[in-house]
């Protein structure tokens, strides 16, 4: 457990010191609760990159705030737990966070199974939870204490389905790998495409340990689709795209999420050119560009990835919520459950906000029964260019029906 608490700086403004003194005085009878947040996520398992990027994004909000004196002179304390990819461990750490650390809020839960187990704990223990990257569709179907910042994989698929329907495309082939991301992604694509009247000609699955994916591509070739949808991991995505192009298929390829990753673009090189990616981070927004530049300055270069933006947005909202007068009142009251409920209420109240994820005109919608990013208009399309060296706004005119 790394406690990233910073000692209170002496540089805090006189005003905030006074405020802190005042609050300290009024709350002399009931001890105010510490401003404690837990980050519980995979930092060493198969989804470790997402977990680490999300944590870094979160710290980019909290660290400067703490340096500047925190909220009303009080520091936000961040407790971090590494769940690996183990839902049992995640549930245990969540319980530890809620009952032993007595934290106010949990943030994290990127792998799907980890998120599912943490949502169960959050609702059992009545503990607010901000879910970051998890794409599992039904996490927020009956929302109570959980809020999601990552779009559902269905939202990727809906964005794709909308774009395809608009282009008048009727026939699609899907290729996915055999890990949960691939299987769930393909399933959600099938479910999103059907209502739009788009036919899935074939769905092909390959093993991530298979070096040659020609059998799957042959089947796609014989199905003769207008567009090919791929749900891979980075390296096998490159293998799929390379084989598609080398076998002479010229159809547009859409690759949600993974298409933007650097390992994919490096490996696919020239065959990656033109791969379309629905992306929840819009690099044409200057403030988003700045986040990624700042991130690169702190942690080294990073390809377009929604995780830092999700961590950053969750952190931003958490700070707003914790600064909210009603939440502050509850915190000063010293009753943990009252404070947690106030955080849930404040999240719903403040939850319609423009973050760094999504298009410029599509705010998060963490209100009432929604608890997640906007269902439509959240994604932009980008495409790979320059033999994998860059990502540019996509030219969707290449999506044409045959």
């Amino acid at each position: 457990m790394t406690r990233t608490t910073q000692t209170k700086t002496l540089l805090a403004g006189t005003a905030s010191t006074l405020a802190a003194l005042l609050i300290g005085a009024t709350a002399a009878y009931a001890e105010p609760l510490p401003l404690k947040i837990c980050h519980i996520d995979d930092r060493s398992g198969s989804a470790a990159d997402t977990g680490i990027e999300g944590l870094n994004g979160l710290k980019m909000v909290l660290d400067p705030l703490n340096k500047a004196g925190g909220i009303n002179g009080r520091q936000i304390e961040l407790v971090t737990y590494d769940t690996k990819t183990d839902p049992q461990l995640a549930a245990t750490f969540s319980t530890r966070c809620a009952e032993d650390d007595k934290a106010l809020l949990m943030i994290g839960a990127s792998p799907g199974a980890v998120a599912a187990s943490m949502v169960t704990v959050a609702n059992q223990l009545k503990m607010p939870l901000y879910v970051l990257a998890s794409a599992t569709p039904n996490l927020t179907d009956n929302p109570a204490y959980q809020f999601r910042f990552g779009p559902k994989v269905t939202q990727d698929s809906l964005a794709v389905a909308d774009a395809l329907a608009e282009a008048g495309i009727k026939k699609v082939a899907i290729i996915n790998n055999s890990v949960p991301f691939g299987i769930t992604g393909a399933e959600s694509a099938v479910n999103a495409l059907k209502p739009k009247g788009i036919e899935v000609l074939t769905q092909q699955t390959y093993d991530v340990a298979a070096t040659d994916v020609a059998p799957q591509i042959i089947n796609v070739m014989q199905a003769d689709p207008e567009v090919i949808l791929v749900y891979p991991y980075p390296a096998d995505g490159a293998r799929v795209v390379r084989t598609i192009r080398q076998m002479g298929l010229t159809q547009p390829v859409i690759m949600p999420r993974v298409g933007a990753m650097k390992a994919f673009r490096d490996l696919a090189a020239e065959t990656g050119n033109g791969v379309l990616i629905p992306s929840s981070v819009d690099m044409s927004r200057p403030e988003v560009k700045k986040l990624f530049d700042d991130y690169a300055a702190l942690h080294g270069p990073l390809a377009v990835s929604p995780s830092p933006a999700q961590g950053h947005d969750a952190g931003t909202l958490a700070v707003q919520v914790l600064s909210d007068p009603e939440v502050q009142k509850a915190i000063d009251g010293g009753d943990l459950q009252v404070a947690r409920d106030a955080i849930v209420a404040a999240t719903k109240r403040l939850g319609r906000f423009q973050g760094l994820q999504g298009r410029a005109d599509s705010p998060y919608d963490l209100t009432d029964d929604h608890h997640g990013p906007a269902d439509a208009g959240f994604f932009v399309f980008i495409e790979v260019a320059g033999n994998g060296s860059e990502l540019v706004p996509a030219d969707l005119s290449k999506l044409t029906a045959k």
Binding site: S178, A209, A210
Partner: protein, 294 residues
């Protein structure tokens, strides 16, 4: 139709070569020490990840990198031998307990790799070109062909070593009965040490070759270990050639299952097939050698 069939055969051969290489290296260790090595896939991972380090990060010329990759794999094997195998054997641990020891070693190697390389999937620079090579309507690339060539190369090398050298005779003798071999003047610890080194060398080279296609990720080891296990029990654990053949068979089954059946359920279906084979032939398809020895 001919085209599809030949593509399936080629893909089966390529993938099967990878599984076969791991099955072969698993079986070499098993043959001399009766230990199933849970860390076998970690050798492959080390091969791929050190390739990233030496070829991309340090930008060394590939022959130098190749030697260094081999050195790292062999050092890891020596660590496994001296740190896990020998101490456990001296404490008279059962083979299955030693297997759990190799599992602990796999966890340690993974932990070290996490510190060194981090969790992201890495780009492994190809030694050979990934540009298409055509044979009539068939298409492949140099890297994939090199994997197939390497597979058959190591098969021949292993055969030569085991059946055409005095040293190989000692290895086989140790495998049959280490105590008797010891009485005959064969130092079985040295034989086992050599088999660990040779096996790690095969796996490390496999990692170097498949890295550019599979990508380098520290978690890749377990997946490949499992493929190797399945290859080895399908063919027969006792003989490197049977295990290699098992790998080839799994590769071909995968390709045909994907080509003509359901690709989604290919993996569970193949495991079911392997179980069915084991019911009929408890020591694997080509396991007569070991069955007789019991």
């Amino acid at each position: 139709m001919m085209m599809k069939l030949s593509y399936l055969l080629l893909a089966g051969l390529t993938n099967g070569s990878v599984y076969g290489l791991i099955g072969l290296s698993l079986s070499i260790i098993y043959g001399s020490s009766r230990v199933i090595n849970f860390a076998q896939g970690e050798f492959v991972m080390l091969g791929a990840m050190t390739a990233v380090m030496f070829l991309a990060t340090l930008a060394l010329p590939w022959p130098v990198a190749l030697v260094l990759v081999a050195v790292v794999a062999i050092v890891a094997a020596l660590g496994l031998d001296h740190g896990v195998y020998r101490p456990l054997v001296r404490r008279k641990a059962e083979p299955l307990t030693i297997m759990i020891g190799t599992l602990a070693a796999a966890i340690i190697i993974y932990g070290i790799a996490l510190l060194v390389w981090g969790p992201e999937q890495k780009f492994v620079p190809p030694i050979l070109s990934l540009a298409p090579i055509r044979f009539g309507f068939l298409m492949t690339n140099a890297q994939q062909l090199a994997i197939i060539a390497m597979f058959f190369g190591f098969l021949v090398a292993t055969w030569f070593l085991l059946y055409r050298t005095r040293f190989g005779l000692s290895i086989r003798a140790t495998g049959v009965n280490p105590r008797v071999a010891l009485l005959m003047g064969i130092r079985s610890e040295r034989i086992v040490q050599f088999s660990f080194m040779y096996s790690a060398f095969v796996s490390g080279m496999a990692g170097l070759m498949i890295g550019p296609l599979l990508g380098g990720q520290i978690g890749m080891g377990l997946l490949l270990t499992v493929k190797g296990f399945m290859a080895a029990i399908l063919g027969g654990l006792g003989s490197p050639f049977a295990a290699a053949a098992g790998g080839l068979a799994i590769g071909l089954m995968e390709a045909f299952m994907a080509g003509y059946g359901t690709s989604l359920y290919a993996e569970p279906a193949i495991f079911v097939l392997i179980l069915l084979v084991l019911i009929v032939r408890p020591y694997g398809l080509l396991g007569d050698y070991e069955a007789e020895r019991r």
